[in-house]
C-alpha cells in the first residue's frame, strides 16, 4: 500500500498529534506514505466560495502531482477529503478540466496538467478498503476491550454522497467497523453523522458551541468513554473548544476526543505519549487507563 500523502494544514499546525500519530501508525501497518510537500491547502470549501475556478486549479495542481507518481492520494481530514472529492468530480468533466488546466500551464511546472485519473482516499477508507478489516484485526496487539467509542464522521466525509460515495450518509459503518476491529465497542447515537459546528465558530459561536455540547453530551449519555473522529476540524471544535461549550451549556462534559490514527495506534501497541494524547485539551488519561490498563 503506497499513497501520495496529503496531511492538510491542520495536522501541520494546531493538531500536530494527528500528523505524528498517522506517520507512526502507517509505518506499523506497512503503509508507505510519500508526502506531497509542495501541495497547497485544499481550500476547505472556503476558497471556492469566493473563486471556485481558483480553488479547483490549486487542487488540480495537487491531483496532478499524485497522478505523475501514479499514486492515489491519502488524506487524514474529512474536510480536505470533501473538498478534494467535490473538486475531482467537477474536474472529471472534460471541457471544464481543460479550462482549469489552462490556468496551470505556462512555465513548465505542471506539464500536461491534470488528466482526471487520481483516486483520493481518506485514511479511514484506506483502512477499510485497501488494508481490510480482517487484516487490521490481525495486526491488533492490544485489543481495546473495555472501551466504548462514539464515532464522529464529520459532514464532509459523508455528504454530498454523489461526490464522496463511500459510506451511506444515513447509516455509515466504516468507523464502527474499525472501532470493532480494534476490540472496542462502537456506540450508536444520532450525533455521529451531524455537524461539529466548526465552520460557524467565529460567525455564530453560541450555535457552534451548542452543536458541540449536544453531540458530546449525547455520546456521554449513551455510555461512551471517548469519541473518535477522522476530521481534525471536528477535533478542534469537539476537543479544543469543549471548555467553551461547557461554559455555554453550564455543564461539565469532559469527553475525550481521539483522532482516528490515535485510536488505531493504541490498539497496535503504541504508548499514549507516542500517539500524542497529552496534546489534547480534554484530558485523555481515563481513556488510556480503560483501554490499555496502564
Amino acid at each position: 500500500m503506497k499513497y501520495a500523502f496529503f496531511p492538510g494544514c491542520v495536522a501541520k499546525q494546531t493538531c500536530p498529534e494527528l500528523y505524528h500519530s498517522t506517520k507512526k501508525v502507517a509505518q506499523a501497518l506497512n503503509i508507505d506514505l510519500v508526502e506531497l510537500e509542495n501541495a497547497a491547502c485544499s481550500g476547505a470549501g472556503v476558497v471556492s466560495q469566493q473563486n471556485e475556478a481558483l480553488s479547483d486549479a490549486l487542487n488540480a495542481r495537487t491531483f496532478a502531482m499524485a497522478e505523475k507518481q501514479a499514486l492515489p492520494i491519502m488524506t487524514i481530514c474529512s474536510t480536505c477529503q470533501g473538498a478534494f472529492c467535490r473538486a475531482n468530480k467537477r474536474l472529471r468533466q472534460e471541457p471544464y478540466r481543460d479550462k482549469i488546466n489552462g490556468y496551470l500551464s505556462g512555465n513548465g511546472k505542471n506539464e500536461g496538467g491534470y488528466k482526471g485519473t487520481t483516486k483520493i482516499k481518506h485514511f479511514l477508507w484506506a483502512l477499510v478498503e485497501d488494508l481490510g478489516i480482517e487484516e487490521l484485526k490481525k495486526r491488533v496487539k492490544r485489543p481495546l476491550r473495555n472501551l466504548k467509542v462514539a464515532s464522529f464522521y464529520g459532514c464532509h466525509l459523508l455528504r454530498p454522497s454523489d461526490a464522496l460515495g463511500f459510506d451511506n450518509p444515513d447509516n455509515p459503518t466504516s468507523l464502527e467497523k474499525v472501532i470493532d476491529a480494534l476490540g472496542a465497542e462502537p456506540v450508536d447515537y444520532d450525533g455521529r453523522t451531524r455537524c461539529c459546528g466548526f465552520p460557524i465558530l467565529l460567525e455564530n459561536e453560541n450555535a457552534s458551541m451548542a452543536m458541540v455540547s449536544k453531540h458530546t453530551l449525547e455520546a456521554k449519555e449513551k455510555g461512551s468513554d471517548c469519541m473518535v473522529t477522522p476530521c481534525p476540524l471536528c477535533h478542534l471544535n469537539l476537543d479544543v473548544q469543549q471548555p467553551n461549550a461547557e461554559k455555554i451549556a453550564r455543564q461539565k462534559i469532559g469527553l475525550p476526543v481521539l483522532h482516528l490514527p490515535q485510536l488505531v495506534g493504541l490498539a497496535l501497541g503504541f504508548s499514549e505519549h507516542e500517539m500524542g494524547l497529552h496534546k489534547h485539551i480534554v484530558p485523555t488519561g481515563r481513556v488510556v487507563e480503560k483501554a490499555i490498563g496502564s
Binding site: 509542495n38 476558497v47 459532514c155 444515513d170 451531524r194 467565529l202 455564530n204 473548544q241
Partner: protein, 318 residues
C-alpha cells in the same frame, strides 16, 4: 404469506398522551412499495387512528416529509426496499425542528414564517413595465432553474444542523428562495437582498453541513445556493463582517504560503480592532499554546510563487 417489515412509528396525541411513544406494525412487503404505501396499509387495514399528511404520492405536493431512520425524506419517494438496504426496520418520526401536532403531522408555520422573511417573490422594474411578459433567456433561467424547483416540503429544515441550535437562522429553503429571486435576471433589488441576507440568521450562519443538499428530494441543493449568495455578496463588495473577512483572508493566506495560517485567520476574521472579540479568543489561544498547538514559525510550501501565478491567470481570464 408475504414477507413482512416492521414499521416503528412515532405516536403522539397531545389530547390523550402524556408523552410520545413508538408503536410497531407489521407491513407486508411486496414489489416496489414505498414507505407511504406502508403507512397507507397501516391506516387502511390496521389502525385508522394513525395520522399523517399525504396527497400526490408522486413527490410533487410536498406534504409527506418525515424522518425515516434518522434522516428526512418524502416517504412517497422512498421505497421500503431502499431503507432495508441499510436498516433492519423502518423507523418513522415527524420532521424535526417543527412542533408536532399529532403523530407524524407537524405545524409548518415556522417554514412559512421564514419564507415570508425573504420577500419570496420577484421584485422587477415597476416603472418600465413591458407590453408583453418579462422575458428571460434560457441561459438566464438556467442560473435559477434548480432553485426554482422547490416544492416547499420542509425536509431540508428538518435536517438543518444550524436551525436545530439557532431558531433565528433563516434556514435552507428560504435562503434558496432568496437566491432564486436575487439571481433572477429580471430582479432589481439584488443589492438590498444581499445586504439583508448578510444580517444575523442569514447566509453567514450556515454551517455548511450539506444535510440540505443530501436530503432535498428536488435537487434544489440549498447550501449551494447559499454559497452562491455569499459569492455574490463578496463580488459586490457590499459587506464587511466576520463571514466575508473569513473567506477573503482564507484565500489570501493560502496564496501567501500554500498552507492556511491558523493563527492569523481567526485574528483577521474577528478583526484586530475588535478588542473584545480578540480578548474573548485569548484563553483558548493560550490553552492551545501550552499544549504545543501553536507553531511559532508558520510553514510554507516551496512553490508559493507558482500558486500566485495560477491565481493571477484565473483573475486575468475573468
Amino acid at each position: 404469506m408475504a414477507e413482512h417489515t416492521t414499521f416503528k412509528v412515532f405516536r403522539y396525541n397531545p389530547e390523550t398522551d402524556s408523552k410520545p411513544y413508538f408503536q410497531s406494525y407489521q407491513v407486508p412487503l411486496q414489489g416496489g412499495k414505498t414507505v407511504l404505501d406502508g403507512l397507507n396499509e397501516i391506516k387502511g387495514q390496521q389502525d385508522g387512528t394513525l395520522t399523517y399528511r399525504m396527497s400526490c404520492r408522486s413527490a410533487i405536493c410536498g406534504s409527506c416529509g418525515m424522518v425515516v431512520n434518522g434522516h428526512s425524506k418524502l416517504v412517497c419517494r422512498l421505497q421500503i426496499a431502499e431503507v432495508l438496504k441499510n436498516f433492519d426496520e423502518v423507523v418513522i418520526e415527524p420532521m424535526r425542528n417543527f412542533e408536532v401536532i399529532r403523530d407524524l403531522v407537524v405545524n409548518m408555520d415556522r417554514f412559512w414564517d421564514k419564507m415570508d422573511k425573504v420577500t419570496p417573490w420577484l421584485v422587477a422594474d415597476e416603472e418600465n413595465v413591458p407590453a408583453t411578459e418579462r422575458l428571460q433567456s434560457p441561459a438566464d433561467f438556467n442560473v435559477i432553474r434548480d432553485a426554482s424547483s422547490c416544492i416547499m416540503c420542509g425536509v431540508c429544515l428538518s435536517d438543518c444542523t444550524s436551525l436545530e441550535v439557532d431558531s433565528n437562522f433563516l434556514g435552507p429553503a428560504a435562503l434558496a428562495k432568496a437566491f432564486r429571486m436575487a439571481a433572477d435576471s429580471r430582479s432589481v433589488d439584488r443589492e438590498e437582498r444581499l445586504l439583508e441576507l448578510s444580517k444575523e440568521g442569514g447566509v453567514w450562519d450556515c454551517a455548511r453541513c450539506y444535510e440540505c443538499v443530501q436530503v432535498c428530494p428536488k435537487y434544489v441543493a440549498p447550501m449551494e445556493t447559499i454559497m452562491k449568495l455569499r459569492e455574490m455578496t463578496l463580488k459586490a463588495d457590499l459587506v464587511d463582517n466576520r463571514g466575508t473577512r473569513h473567506v477573503e483572508h482564507f484565500t489570501e493566506l493560502v496564496l501567501d504560503s500554500g498552507i492556511l495560517d491558523e493563527r492569523r485567520l481567526p485574528m483577521k476574521t474577528v478583526g484586530l480592532t475588535d478588542l473584545k472579540g480578540m480578548l474573548h479568543m485569548a484563553p483558548t489561544g493560550l490553552r492551545m499554546m501550552l499544549k504545543g498547538k501553536m507553531p511559532l514559525i508558520h510553514p510554507h510550501i516551496k512553490d508559493v510563487d507558482e500558486l500566485q501565478r495560477i491565481a493571477h491567470k484565473v483573475e486575468e481570464s475573468k
